[in-house]
């Protein structure tokens, strides 16, 4: 199983990525996906995503390797966009495929929770009125990521 990991400015094609993990195969019983999208809260005009080239790919690779170790996956895809993202556009795509649904669903949740807290991305919000501000990390994200710290029962 070769994970598909990409950091890119262009929008991603979720349908094509899902097909890549399932089409022509008969060993996939469950395909879970999560797409994080840019909302237009409070007059947001755009998100600008900065990252740490080199470390980003490494950090995502490590997170995916952890998922592959914990769950029997037949496929795994993580695509994270950087640069300017408009409301309604996708920011991140996570796919996890497995023979069994629990593995697909759990690993998909794990991947997005750890991506949010363990990969070097930073979001800046640009507003229609010209204001901008860096998004602050949230305790709820840390708590969500911490759920996966302990080995699974």
């Amino acid at each position: 199983m070769e994970p598909r990991i990409r950091v890119q400015e262009e929008p991603f094609d979720a349908a094509a990525e899902m097909a890549a993990l399932s089409e022509g195969r008969t060993d996939v019983g469950g395909l879970a996906s999560f797409i994080g999208l840019c909302r237009a809260d409070d007059g947001l005009a755009a998100l600008v995503l900065e990252h740490y080239p080199g470390m980003t790919e490494r950090a995502i690779g490590r997170i995916v390797a952890e998922a592959v170790e914990r769950w029997p996956l037949t496929g795994c895809t993580v695509i994270h966009r950087v640069g300017r993202i408009r409301p309604g556009e996708g920011i991140v795509l996570v796919l996890a495929a497995s023979a069994h649904r629990a593995a697909a669903l759990e690993s998909c949740g794990f991947l997005i929770d750890w991506l949010k807290t363990r990969a070097p991305f930073w979001k800046r919000e640009e507003f229609a009125d010209g204001d901008d501000r860096w998004v602050e990390a949230r305790d709820t994200d840390d708590a969500a990521a911490a759920r996966w710290d302990a080995p699974r029962p």
């Binding site: 740490y52 470390m55 949010k116 991305f121 930073w122 602050e136 990390a137």
Partner: protein, 83 residues
Amino acid sequence: MRILYFAWLRQKTGIAEETVSPPETVRDVAGLIAWLAVQSPGHADAFAQARQVRAAVNQEFARPGDPVAPGDEVAFFPPVTGG
């Protein structure tokens, strides 16, 4: 030693990257921060909120007590907010 700044640390220092040669007494991340913080008003501003600063040494997340050495790539940034 190569230093990288991201997000508002980049904006406050005014630089994305610099090469520095701290004295031998600088042996860990905390020591490096203390030394960098007095290099310019921008650096002082960037490191003023110490609790909001995270670091990576050679592209691995690092803690204040983790060692730094000549030749290392050390990055400073706020808590990550991707996903």
